[in-house]
Symmetry: D3
Subunit: 251 residues, 6 copies
């Protein structure tokens, strides 16, 4: 039987951790780790909303994803220096934003914006799924901070939790939470964003260089469910702890 | 029973047409129409490959998608004037490229590139799926041109046909090939790229502002299969005709 | 006697056609063809005027010209991808705008803007003159639409028609409406924008790699007059027909 | 009788001067003054040619025009800070390049480039015509320097002199060499680039907000001839003097 | 007597720490902390040198500094999204590069480049001095890695250690290592980059909104020496430990 | 004894001159010359202040520095054409702004901005110090113009004069006001901005490729004082003359 390079079972996540309060300026700040993938996810509250939304009475949630140049195996060039954002960065930023907007009632914010930043400190596969999963925790902390500050119109604006995981077919086997070594040679690659209410938010399956039968899609979805269930447990456990340094008057 | 604004059944495509040879400079040039959505899809052959692929002996296929400013209900601003490409444009360009690379043996091209351009002349929902479906026809024509010119290392580099269709949940009903009017208020929206060999290339389902159970995903995939089957028929019929103005020596 | 590659007499235009209502979202939308040159010219009405014109009570007319990457003999790179607009594009956009502003009373629009877009679908010489000539027809349709919608302060804001044609010296002969094959080797090249009132709007003659005596200029102007007269006839004939799909309530 | 604000006759140029050797690094460096319009025109010799011209054995001449932010009546913003070049700048840069390429045999340069820079220190109308007229003098000096350095394949690569002047209709009168005060309210505006061999290089006449009969065009061309004749005299007189600081071994 | 908000003496550094091996892909990776200021400093080895240095046989060291959007008290906008780098970022990147080039013999690298990245995770004053001080440690680790890999022409290419500290006049008192709260209201602000050989690399003192006598400059330099001495001790102590996870064959 | 290539003593400035009123549109316009370095420094008054300063009642002073492409020994590329500003340009622009803000009471301007432009016409070392020194003179003239126009809230908003000079160690000797030939091979390079009240505004010393003891820093500061003293004399003498062309009603 083929085993994975890191010794995991096919349906096993890498070690997952959430370090809340990793930095202190944003309302929510979480270092999420999916094995060697480490992403700093923050949720900052800023006044006002984008122009097209002004006067609606509704808030907004926006997200930006980026990789540090030193986060990849070979150093990658800095997008600010190149003067433009690459397509992959754009695509993931949009995915993170859409995913988190699925769980929040934006009317509760009034005309304010929550800006999610997912900055990858170290990349080892699954940076987009770790980003979404960590960003939910940062968002929950930011919402708690807003509530404590009396800035919410509805005290419970989050209707569910959001987590995401990658699944794929590697060496002919359906596997969960692919590290870079597996991701780079997967025949099929899929990212699933789900809620802890048992529903789906986003499903993106792709078979570059190969195509796949629907039966494979079904197996991948089953496998993803195993992963997101475990992630919801981990999020819940992390959020059950008090916010580090949670003093009266602290931001 | 709810009926659709344009009178179609839930599982019915809009009128589909392919006008091959719509312009004459590219090796393949197709105007594809999915109802009111009209996209000019071209496949141009250019010498050489991107730097990172040089010396591999392999060809490349790249794709760019764009909307004319006048193609949308309200005129949109021109990306070249703004000086940057938006995230949605980036995302779709990448999707078109990945989708078409799934059907072609790039080794057959030698170190040459096929550049796919999908320029939306008129947008009425489903521009990305029309782009992929039309681009396949343009690609088939470009490959035929390359073969006739003796420039292919393998005479049959296309392993299957590629088509894409949008499906969604609108007014609580699963529907095929959404026009703008339905797309803009769909609860769930999904794009499926498939092959005529019965496999999938890419599945992207999203529920912005709502989430959806897996049972809905299954119904959406069933519905998509109805659509792509009909699109493969239409592609085959279009390609069965001789290329317009197909004179000896013509490009 | 030297004859032209396409069999035309020196003072003969290529086949000219205007397809009004080519797309349905803009107030005016015309596919203009000068032989193999095909340009989609649209006139979109947008609220407001540029900042420097606010509070003047006057409207504005702006124009943007662009070529599809696949429109040229060899595929050209996409300006939005390069991140900047080339000098030639800038120059022609400005020419189209100036030319059309010569025929319209901008006070009649109130503080609204007509945005002209000229997108070249296929280039075979004379794209800027075809753009101006087609854009006038789109502008006339947009003005009619504005009038029908009761949005004009003056019911007849157009004081004249505008058309443009290229003339040049090729093989030592003065010729009208140069296709790419002649344009690329012309000794002198001139674009003339004129009104159907017999006046000139813009004259641009250039002799890259050669200079020319004033007598040649005079012959070129005479020849241009032959061309613009015919173009005014063609515009008038096209505009005499009812707007396609001209239903009550249609935009 | 209407007189001009600066007391000139309608067919009189402003005071014209050329200060050769205004700066010392470029091979040719001329401060040209047309009244209050002052442009630093330089011609720098650089090794190599643009990529598309490599291997041709031919040289190239390129030109860039720009205005200092402080050169205009109201300070204008800096194009490098805005991050893009405006359409007007592009248009004039191209005009200057085309105009000067009309007088030089590029084969004589071998695969080297002459870069013309026209930087407007003070603008008072006619900056583009002053640029061309001054740039010719800088080019002549650069060519002399190349000849003295033994770097020319043909000792006389300049076939004629080039000068340019603006003419226009102001207050209903045809006038020569318009300052800003006249230019900004001219009914018709025309720039004529000519050679001292009596031929034309470029004619650009435009009537923004007005159109003009051909008879006016003729009068404008007559008037321009008066101006360019005087400019050729002034260029000749300036070039008859030894180059300032012309020491053996000096660049 | 005035005391500092954080209770430090005027000549006392904030708690300093270096976490080597903070990320695993770069050859050197150090999280440096100066109190609440935390910067991830990495040193990546890349093949080749910039174009202007090719063929010299010499290596190069380049540096880029950036702040995460969430690192500041109020979230700042992302430079990659804005499409350009701000002046402050440029200035600090150049300073870091110059400072580290002062201690390394680039000939020892052959034609290879060390790319320093300083990404600020949390900003609380002194980000540029923390960056330089931490980057030296990352550089030392990268050099050790290069040596172990047999890629150095000279086994000891570092001639000295480099550290930097900020000093300033706050509340009329000369103080060491200013946090944001002091920095933002300092009358004079100075950054000193020094070597452990007792020499200076860079001195930048500035008095925005105020000027200062030379006597103050002298006191600031004295104070800086106190700080850099302590920093050299801390660097030495950190580098005395084995590299974390330093296994045979590890990068 | 080593002498300098231009025959100066080590502590001797190059010939310094200020040509006030060099151009006529800005409120202050000075051509400053430090030997072969020539910079056009202008001070333009514009309405309003940057967004972040609105409502403060305070004015602002901003500065932009740039080099003409032809100003350098080898022609340099134009930053507007490249589409971005280089780090060195950014750094110097910021230095000029900070330096001049040290001498002006911005409250006196009301919510108006003085825009300083320093455009290098010819570069021969010391362009940043010449820029600051010349810009002070232009600023003084602009302030006088504002005062005469009754636009100042405080008639004497300038508290001191500002000048800057470069000093360095070349051939082992401390020297004043380095030309390019010395600057490019200096072991230590320092720019000092000072006030005529005997205080310092900015000190930037750097030893790329070498480090320097504090004793050298002291000698450099002594030398700089010699230079700035002479520059203050020269500024005073220049400003003692009436503004050229100073007519009633002139700007």
């Amino acid at each position: 039987m083929t085993t994975r390079a890191d010794g995991r079972a096919d349906d096993e996540l890498r070690p997952i951790s959430f370090t809340r309060g990793f930095t202190s300026h944003p309302a929510g700040s979480v270092l999420v780790e999916f094995g060697g993938t480490r992403v700093l996810c923050t949720a900052s509250v800023t006044d006002g909303v984008p122009r097209w939304r002004k006067g609606s009475g509704l808030g907004w949630l926006t997200a930006e994803y980026a990789m540090l140049p030193s986060s990849t195996h070979e150093r990658s060039s800095r997008e600010s220096v190149r003067g433009k954002i690459g397509g992959r960065t754009h695509e993931i930023s949009r995915l993170v934003g859409r995913s988190l907007r699925a769980c929040i009632d934006l009317a509760a914010l009034g005309e304010n914006t929550i800006a999610i930043d997912c900055d990858v400190l170290q990349a080892d596969g699954g940076t987009r799924t770790a980003s979404i999963t960590g960003a939910y925790v940062a968002l929950a902390d930011a919402v708690a901070w807003l509530g404590a500050a009396g800035k919410l119109k509805d005290p419970q604006p989050l209707s569910c939790a959001i987590a995401a995981v990658s699944v794929g077919v590697v060496d002919g086997r359906v596997r969960l939470d692919l590290p870079y070594e597996e991701d780079s040679r997967a025949e099929v690659d899929m990212n699933v964003v789900a809620t802890d209410a048992g529903t789906l938010v986003e499903v993106q399956g792709t078979g570059e260089g190969a195509t796949f039968p629907r039966a494979t899609l079904e197996k991948l979805l089953d496998m993803a469910e195993v992963g997101t269930s475990a992630l919801f447990e981990a999020q819940k456990a992390a959020l059950a702890l008090p916010y580090p340094g949670d003093l009266p008057g602290a931001k």
